[in-house]
Every structure is written in C-alpha cells, then in structure tokens.
Symmetry: D2
Subunit: 367 residues, 4 copies
C-alpha cells in the first residue's frame, strides 16, 4: 500500500496551555540546526534543570540494557507526550542528561542533545561522496531528522522517506518541531509502507539510498533488510549508476563491533565492489556507532579541503558535527576494529543472521 | 553419613586452590599483550560467563555516576582481591562486560578488556612524535600499565614511575600479572612520592613526562597538577629540549568536553608553544576520552606511513589499538569539539579550577 | 623525598592489620545479642557512615530481583571477606542500610541489623509452645544464628545443626563472631550432611525440628524438603510425641503469599493434625516473611502473659523482637492472607512444586 | 478560599479510542472493591504482562530512594495519564509489580494492588472504635480512596474531604474510576483548601478527623500538621465529645520507626489522654507503615468478635484486609518498636520537627 501523505500544520492548539508553554520552550531547544547558536540559552536551561534536581532527585529512570549485565541509565524529569500505533508505543520524554528523547517501544531512538551526530553521519558522507545526488530514498527514518539533513543539500530534488508506521510519523511531525520545515518541504515525499515492499514495487531509481533502520534484533523482521539477498536483489537494482547505499550498521565500539557491524560490512563487501565503513561515538547510545557506504562505482579520493568545499557549496545551513577533518577521522577506524573487519567472513543471510542485545535504535520498522 | 565435626582451622588450602585456578585463568586473560591472540579462548570464556548468567543474574553491581542523573552500571560476578592503603580502598573485581576491573575508592581505574585503548593512547603518541625518547617520567600510573607501554619502546632507557600510594603499587604488582614484566624491568625506577614534590626536588630532566593522573575533582588535591603554575614552574623546567608533556585530560565527548578538557587544552596552549589535543572512545569509561600533548618545540608532521614505520622499528611487541591511521583519527577531533577548543578562554589555576562530576579515573594521587 | 623501591613481598601484614581493626569493630556490631545495649554506639557508627557517604556515593550496589521487574537495591560500603565452597560463593559485605550482610551465591542470607527478627521468629514460637523441649534438629542454618537462638533455651540439652556446606559453616564460625558462643557450645552437635539423608539415617527423635532452609527455587534440590512425602515419610517419624516441626515458608506479604507460602501451609495441613502459620515483616527481605508450625498433638492456647512467663523462665539472655504481644500479632495473619490460606488446595509434591522468583534466602543447601 | 465542587461524570470521551479500550480494562482492575472477585481475571492479566515482559524487559523504571543508599525500583510498562497542577506534577502509570500507580511530583502515592491495605487501615479502626461516627473530616486524601472507605460506614452522614490541590482531585476523579462512586456520593463534601486554614475557619465539629497527609519532609510545609500546637490549638477543638483523631504517621518498620513514627506517637501522647499506635506492612511502600489514633475519651476494649460484628453491621461492601483478628495484629506492635515508643521523649514542634528521607507519600499538600 502506497500512501502519499498531505502535509498539514502542526496542531499545537491541541495541547493544554500549561503544557504548550513548557513544551514549546523545550521543542525549540530540540532544534538541532540552531543548537550551537542557542548554546547559552541551552546551558542556562540545563543549569536550571540541574539546580532543580539538587532539591529533588529523579524518580523516573530510563534504563537501556546495553548488554545483559551492562546498563545505561538516565533520569527522566518529565513525560512530554505519549502515543501508540499498531506497531509500537511512542513516547517523548525530557531526560536530564540528553534533553528530549524519543522512545519507541521504550527504546531510545534519538536524543535532542546529540542526535545531530547520528543524523549528520548517516546522511552527509554518502551525499558528499556522490558527484551530484538528486534523489534520495530513506528506508525508515520516520522521525524526520534524516530527511531534514538530506534536504540541506540543494542539489537534492527529491527525498522519499518510507516508514511503516504512520503514527510515529504523525507524532514526530507534531511534537518534534525542529523537523517541521523538513516535513513541510515540497521536495519530501512521505510513504507509509514497508521499505522492502516499497522498493520492490517502485519504478524509480535513486542516487542515494539510506538505511535508517533499527538494528537487527532476534525475532524482528527488520533484520531481513541487512541480508545479502535483499541488497543484491531488491536494493541494488534501484540505485542509479554511481549510486551509493549507506546503512546504519549497529555498534562499532572496541567491545561491540563484532556483534553485527563486521558482518554487515562483510556482507556489503561481498555484494558491492566498493565498501567504506566509518564510525563515531554517540554519547546517548553509550557507544561508538557504525555506518557503511557501498557502491559498484569507485569512491573518489576526496581530501579534507574538497569535503569542506562541497559542504560550503552544496549544503544550506550549518553542520555541527561534520567537516572535512571529522570525516577523515570517522573513516579511519582504529587498528583493532579494522583487523576484525578485514578478517570477517560471516555473511548476513536470512538463515545466518546476527543480532544485537538491545542496543540503541530498535523496532522501528517491525510489522 | 553422620560426621561429627572437630573444630579445625579453615581449610583455606581447599578453596584457595579452586580460586587459584580461576584466578590464574582470568589473570592470564588480563594480559593486554596477548589479547588478540587469545581472542578465541577469551570469547569462549565470555560465552561461558554469559551462559552461567542465564541461570543466575548478577546481584552485585558497580554503578558509576557519570553525571548526577546518568549512570553506567555493570554486573560484578566475583570479588577477586581486596585491599586498602592509607589513601584509599583497592579492589579487583570480575565484571561481566569488561573483564577484570581495578577500583580505587570504589572508582573504576582500568578494565581488562579495553585498558589497552587508554594506555596505548596516553603513551605512544608522545613517544612516537619525539625523535628519540630516552627517559620518561610518569606522574601517577601506579597500576603499571602506563609503564608497561612506555617500556615497549626500545629506545627508552629509563622510566621513572612516581605514585604516591605504595599499597596500590604493591597490590597491582601482585595481582595484575600482565604488568609483571614491566614491574620487574631493570629500566623501571619506582618512586613512592607525590609527583609535584618529586619533580620539584629531582635534578634530572626527561624527554617525555606523562600525566597519568586522576581527574580534577572538587576537594581533591590532584587538580593542582593541571594548573598553569604547575606546568610553567614545576614541570616545564624538567623537560629536555624537544621534550613533550602528555597528560590525560578528562572526558572529551560531544556532551562532556566542556567540563575540563577544553580548559586543560587552553591552559597548556597558554603555557607551551605547541599543543596537540586528541581523543578516543573508551567503552568502560562510557565516553570518549581526551589527552593533550604539549611542547615548546614544534611537533613534526608525521604521515601515517612514518608512524607505522616508527612503531615497527621502535616498539617491541604488538600494539592492538594504535597504528598510523588510528593516530590520524585520534588527532582529528570533530568540528563540534574543535569549535569549543578554539574558543576556550578559561585557564586552569588553583583559584579557578574546573571539576568533573565523578567520571572515570579518580582519587589516585590524593593525599 | 626520593625513595627507590626494592621489590619485596607484599606487606600484607600492614594492611591486614588495618583491616583487622575495622573488621573487628564491625564484627562486634553484628552481635545481635548486644544490639540494643549497643544502640548508641551503633547509631554513631551509622551516622558516621552516612556522613562519609555525603562526600562520596556508593558505587557498589547489591541488587535483589524480588520479582522480574521489582528490585531491592542497597549500597555496599565495603567487602569484608570472600570465600567459596564446592556449592557456592560466600561473601560478607558491609551494607549501608542493613549493616553487615552475608551473601551466598550473591543472595542475601542474613543482615546484621534485622536478622534477629527472622531468627527469633523461626526458633522461639515452637520452643515456647512445646511444654519441655530438650532436643532440637536444625535443617540448614549453617550461619549459626538459628542454633544461637535455640541454645538460649535452658531446657534444651542438645541442638543438632545439619548443614550440607562445611565451608559456609567454617566461614561463619570465623567471621561472624556474634555466633561464636553458640558454635563453641558443648550442647551443639554440628553435622555436615544433606538434611534429608541425615534424618533418614539417624536413630534419634527430636522435640523440635526446624527447617531453616532456602526457599524452593526452580532447579534447586532443596524444594524436596518442602514436599508432602518428605514431611510424612522422613520427617514426621523423627518427632517425639508432642514434637513440633517449624519451617520457614517463604514470603507471606499481601502480594507474595500465593507464591509458596499458602502451598506449604496447605501441604502441612494435609500432613499434620495441627498447623499454625505466622508471619512478620523483615526489612532487609523487602517483604513480610512466613513460617509454619505443625504437630500431631494440639497446640495449647497460650495467653500473652504465659508466653512472657515462659520467656522469662526458659530463656537466658534477652529477646529483642519477640514477646507475648508480638507473638499474638504474628499469629494473627490479616484477612486477605487468611482467605488465601483457607482456600488453598495445592499440595507441594516433587511433581507439583511451586517456586519463587529469587526472593531472599537462597541456595543454601543445594547439592 | 472555600470551593465547593460540583460532581460531574468522567469525560472518558476525551481519550482517544485506542487508549480508552486499554485504559478501561486497567481502570476496571484498579477497583479495590472488586479486587478479590476479579482475582482470576487480574492474575490472567498479570500473567500476560509478565509473558510479554519475557520478550522485552522494562526500560522505564520508578526508583524510590527509601534511604540514601537503599532503593526500591520497579518497572513501568505504560504511562497512562499525565497532568500538572500549580503544586505538583500528576502521573498515573502502569507498574508491573503493583498495577496502576499514582505519582505526585514523581512520588508514589497509591498502588492499585495494595492501596486497600493503607486505606482500610487509616479509616476503619477509628470509625469502628467510635460508638457512632456520623461526621468525618479528611485532611488531604485528594485521591478519593480514604473518602471511599469512610463512606462504606452507613452511620456516617457526612464526609468532608479537604485537599489543597484541585487538579489532583479532578485528575483522580476522572482517571481512577474505582473511586467514582465515592466522588459522586451526596454524603461527600469536597473542599479545596489548606487543611489547617479550613479547620481554623470552619464552625463544625467532627466525630473522626483523619490525617491522610504526606510525610513530614524537610522544606515542606506539611510538617506543621504534625506539631503539638496544631493538634492542641487547631484540631482538638474540632472534635466532638468521644471524637477520634487518626493520622498516618510514617514508616514504622524495625529499622525506620525512629524516623518520625515514635515522635508523632509521643507528640499525640503529650496532647491527648488516650493514644493507640498501630501498623501494617504495605508492600508498595517497601516498609511497615504506622498510624496513630488519639482521643480525650478512653478507647473501649473491643474483642475480635465485636469488631467483626461492627464491620458486619456498619459497613456496606466487603473489607479485604481488615477484620477483628487483623486489627488485633495491627495494634500489637512488636517488642522492639514498643520499646522505642515507650521511651520516646521527642515532641514534634515547628522548631524541632523530624523528617524522613523520601519515603512513600509525599508533597501532597505543599503550598
């Protein structure tokens, strides 16, 4: 089923007035694009929050089981909005250390104070390496931040964002105002569908396809979007010549990169001619995170200066995490991780999938 | 069977032997130098631990308050050794996610499975950038791992390790066998003294001085070893021409680098002519960690290949984290952190110190 | 001062002595018999601990999963002793809220500040209801506290304590000095054996048999000591005329009494002519705890005054929890729990056992 | 300001339909009066919840700091409703171990599965001891459960419930349907006012005054409602001859009764001629809880049978916790607690108040 969503204005009138006032203040802060400019205001806000906390400790806590015996636990000062879809529960909460946090089925998806790291990283490297990206297809990404970053590229004429869960999309459109501009862009085409089904049935090809998917988790159907057969048979035919696939690829830290990262890397290496893994530390995920780019045409050697030049010429608005030097650093994985990647032989198939415990981004596209 | 028990002495020989077997196995694993070779055995061990854990959840947990409302919590499966000095308590525990962990005053100092990241990072960049380092002075470092890494450089003729706490040194020498070789090296000179007092009174100069100190924490005396006056008046006079200071500099993550990292960087920038900050993610610290090198003589531009060449020629034994490419990545801080460093104006003095909450390495040198 | 260190043997004698002093102080405090008299000293100690804690939060925590999503978590300020047997690990730790705590396999067995509630409750009601108890058999109880309470009855000539784990017995004898007197009593006969095997093979009968066993837990062999066939065939034949069995019977709170308490009660009701359940709140167990007395001869109606009279006449030393009025309160379960007990039809057999999650006392007698 | 509230029907139409369905199911379960009859359905529900939990652990947790180093932590499976008043935040959440839980300012007030213990205990003893209670004044109690219990007494003609926070009252009236009947009773008079001000200004006297207040907490104004001057000058003049005051009196466990319970008891003993303390374990409070009754006329000696007779004759609907035997047990505090109460000399005044850490019921009436 292919549903084209009409864009309407956020119905803020629905909130009660008390909430609206507080809500807007916080929503304003969640705007990644304005983050650095608003730093002082933000720090003031955080300071106030922390002073309040002096009097009263948090009693609601979010606990992520990174592994069975490793927990990342942070205080929640306020429940901002609650919702539910047929697929999952949806919550927007105010966390003390990471600002506003979006939870799907109780799993952290995105945190106000560092989501720019993840979203700049998943979008810009592929778009900057491409000589002239005009069309982008996002698998998942219902939150809107990945689309927001892609739309910063003035050469991009069309972004298709394909998420399975309409409620999540509606929820984020209404409550995460930092993506409001993206959601209302005429260049954005919003599709509510399973990404695999959508790619199979659509007749277009794209310059860049982005896998902003949840991690492969045992029992979830989403792991099929990391398999060799999916990449080979469904996805690759939808890439234009020179087209690039980039996918989030799970935790890539010193202790966690063997869970799925090395396998996704190797699976792509066995499927595409050119593969580039990279990684960056995302504080709210409690780990270094990994992504992999893949193409059947060679990636050019781009120097720092050229990267900075392309950022300046192609991108409207400022990036806060990524520049030429940062991209260099992300691409230069450390010796320990490289050694694993180089020696990895596992190929991700439906019969031999690998899963991660409960790390980070989860259950987004489950049916 | 009816056994009437005579009161006899506890048969410690019995359970000691049980313990001993397990202990030795684990101690062997803690040997960073053998880590990669022993990967399979290690993974087997971790798998067994985790299977055991299926039956029985951890009931002892170590909780680090990264911030007031942010906790890093991991399961402890066994208390291995306990001790105490006049300065602090000393514990060696078996953690599930990070292997053996050394705690001083209940604060994580070093974890078996990723200590090589921290210790390779604090030692090798400065020694590799130096044209011919012969003498090294370590402030703190009682655990022995920093000395172990420094002694890998065959050009180094003398390593002075100056820690204030003899018990910690003794404890680590006996219980952390991976550093046994280092502790017994004739090139190691072990001094039990306050690092400041030691530097003030000693007549030698050094090629590299390493600050393997605990973080500046409010109320701790150690923060004075991060002040401009200490660097200027005490430390710099003890550096030979071409000498390099490198110090650990606290958390350097997207959300944490303003706590002390930017200030330590700026303080050194106001004190030395050439300053080089760098960082890497250390999983057990739950953050990206920062270090800063400083010198009054220019750092040479060293390419990846030259770094790899120096590693091959100078270092005995293998590095597991660092190579030319990794060093590049560490030096290329991201745009967000660079912007803060570039704009930082705070100078760390005894009257205007900055402190961190309770992050990572703590209280090592307190009097 | 510049001290060149010779490598010498660890001066364990030094820090041992430090430890010893502290240890002895704490061990002294664990003496339940002196608890009330030493209240002021104790409160001083607790106050000091808490003031210390103002400066430094606990980083080691003990977490008991009362249920899957309910945790009872308390700070550990010190590891006092560690040991292990062929059956389990044994630890004595200093907790902040409950004083010294004995852990077997990481499960709380007994806490200094409230163990008198559990141990007075399991021992004295049966011994006070018996007209003239001379011999007592304790199944389990290796810690020694149950024997200590039984030995307070001057009419008791012989206490057989039968625990399967010699190391636990040795550990407690050495480290829990409050039971030292009990352990050295000529009236105590210590047997290292499985309680079932011991009862089967012994030729004696007893006036009171006490089941100070761990809870029935899935996979543990100890649950067989709660079955009807055990009570009927093994235990009952070892009771003298007028003899009383009393057993701990798991959590008996408003929300937890259906787990095993009602079933143990009903099983005894189907096996003995007279059965008396009772309960009391034990803070460190995070619940109300239950016990059941059973006999084939009628329990006399004893008024408060008679209970107080018997306490005064039979017991040497003071009770801190139990008197006539308290016993009345323990026997008068609330309406909600009584209703469940009255309606319970489940009988505990080897084929239809009930288990509890991970509550409280565990794994003590496992083979 | 004295506002008399008109009763209106719960506007369930406001919820979205998805929520309504789930909500009603859960709200139905929260109905204390139907609890036992619906036990099977309830257990089915809990079983389902727990099976769900097998697949997915809780990630939202409520943590109560019972003391600084003692935590009571339970999983939250769903946020049901959120609100806020000028005094506090208001949340209704679905907890796994305790069912629906009402939180004010993040502090647990009442839990579905055991609120009947607290509310039967605070209401019925005083009303049963009174020969013919016709009028009841409740200080606090905005949740409605205390009024619900009082209205079960057919002899009671008027219940005045005086809570300071209209939003809490409105929230509970709409979302806690088990109290709907009470809220719509013509015998209930709802007053939004500070309890002290209301008592001072009103001209009536009452047969029973119930202090369903939050605990005395440092910095909160509510502690003044526990002072001798309040009892003497404001409250006592509003009691009819034979009138009884009953107040919640904080934790009364073996380890916690010295915090405020003994002091409140002694303060009342110094103010009224006859004082009766009692206590019961409330699982969700993680402790035994205390109440104190006080009167200037003697309490009659009522036997169990008489209590049961009065319950049968006066109370419409069934009690689930309390009967004659249970009341006996509650009144018979254990020896340890009695000893403290008997020896307590502290009197609670505005200048010498005692406070508890953060236990249980909090901040309800703060201005």
């Amino acid at each position: 089923m292919h549903t084209k969503i009409e864009i309407k204005h956020a119905q803020t009138s629905k909130h009660d007035s008390l909430h609206e006032k507080r809500g807007q203040k916080l929503v304003g802060l969640f705007n990644g694009m304005e983050k650095v400019k608003e730093k002082e205001e933000e720090e003031e806000h955080v300071k106030n929050c922390k002073q309040q906390q002096q009097q009263q400790r948090c009693s609601l806590w979010f606990e992520e089981e990174v592994e069975r015996d490793l927990r990342w636990v942070y205080g929640i000062s306020k429940i901002l909005h609650i919702g539910a879809s047929e697929f999952q529960t949806i919550e927007l909460v105010q966390s003390v250390p990471f600002g506003k946090v979006l939870l799907l089925d109780g799993k952290l998806q995105s945190a106000e104070l560092d989501e720019f790291v993840y979203h700049e990283s998943i979008v810009h490297p592929a778009l900057l390496y491409h000589s002239n990206p005009k069309s982008v297809f996002i698998m998942g990404g219902g939150e809107g931040s990945t689309a927001r970053e892609a739309l910063k590229h003035s050469c991009v004429k069309k972004v298709v964002m394909c998420d399975i869960d309409q409620e999540v999309v509606d929820f984020c459109r209404h409550h995460m105002t930092e993506n409001a501009e993206a959601f209302s862009s005429p260049r954005l085409e919003l599709v509510i569908n399973d990404a695999r089904a959508e790619l199979e049935s659509c007749n277009e090809k794209f310059d860049v396809i982005i896998g902003d998917l949840n991690d492969p988790v045992d029992g979830g159907p989403c792991f099929t979007l990391y398999t060799q057969s999916f990449y080979m048979n469904i996805l690759k035919p939808k890439l234009n010549f020179g087209g690039i696939l980039v996918t989030q690829a799970g935790p890539a830290g010193i202790l966690s990169h063997r869970e799925v990262y090395s396998s996704i890397y190797n699976t792509l290496r066995q499927t595409f001619k050119y593969v580039v893994p990279y990684a960056a530390h995302v504080p709210s995920f409690a780990d270094t995170w990994g992504w992999v780019m893949a193409s059947d045409q060679a990636f050019p050697m781009i120097k720092m200066e050229e990267t900075n030049y392309r950022i300046q010429n192609r991108i409207q608005g400022e990036l806060h995490f990524l520049d030429g030097q940062t991209l260099c650093a992300m691409l230069a994985l450390n010796k320990h991780v490289w050694k694993t990647l180089a020696g990895e032989t596992h190929i991700f198939t439906e019969d031999s999938a690998r899963f991660i415990h409960g790390h980070g981004r989860a259950f987004k596209n489950q049916k």
